[in-house]
Symmetry: C2
Subunit: 115 residues, 2 copies
């Protein structure tokens, strides 16, 4: 089962690598409501179409989006919207933790660690 385990780690790593870029996160957010073509996305996030195309194929390789040709356009759609929800959820958890840490710091500064 060790080889399968390694495969799973690779798969997850690919997925997170695909998500680990602000440009790609912006594109994914645009795709939440409807499919967009490459040129729309490129214009929307402000990069060359070639850059947008490369980001999108990375997202596709990770299995996060899918594409379909419509005439001269290529439309990309979100495969698993749950991935974006999950991002929000994790973000909330992390922000809550940061807030907690700050409070602990504040309390320590004011109270002065009673014995």
């Amino acid at each position: 089962m060790d080889e399968f385990d390694a495969y799973r780690y690779e798969l997850r790593t690919e997925m997170f690598k695909a998500l680990a870029n602000p440009m790609r996160l912006r594109m994914l957010e645009r795709l939440r409501d409807r499919p967009w073509c490459v040129c729309e996305l490129a214009a929307s996030v402000g990069v060359d179409k070639s850059v947008a195309s490369k980001h999108l194929s990375q997202l596709k390789a990770a299995g996060l989006v899918d594409d379909e040709r419509r005439g001269t356009l290529v439309e990309y759609r979100l495969v698993a919207p749950c991935v974006l929800d999950m991002a929000e959820c994790a973000e909330r958890a992390i922000l809550a933790e940061r807030r907690r840490r700050l409070e602990v710091l504040e309390a320590g500064r004011e109270g002065g660690e009673a014995p």
Copy 2:
């Protein structure tokens, strides 16, 4: 609201960057059940302690783990176990999508796209 938006994208990107590495994913899995110290983790995943320490401080900066000194050891604990669950969930979604794509390919090959 645009500045806050940019901040959120940065935050998420940091989180996903922290998750986008097999070594760090392995360490996080170890932390699922109990806190581990740096030397245990380093031995468990097979890297130098300096490497393990760097990975762990990256995870900490992203808000995914927290640390506490216990004598000469430093123990790291998982802050938001939901992040690991989320990884599993996303993995399932993506694997399901890949399976679907394969089936579409197979069907296309056998059936021959009826008009």
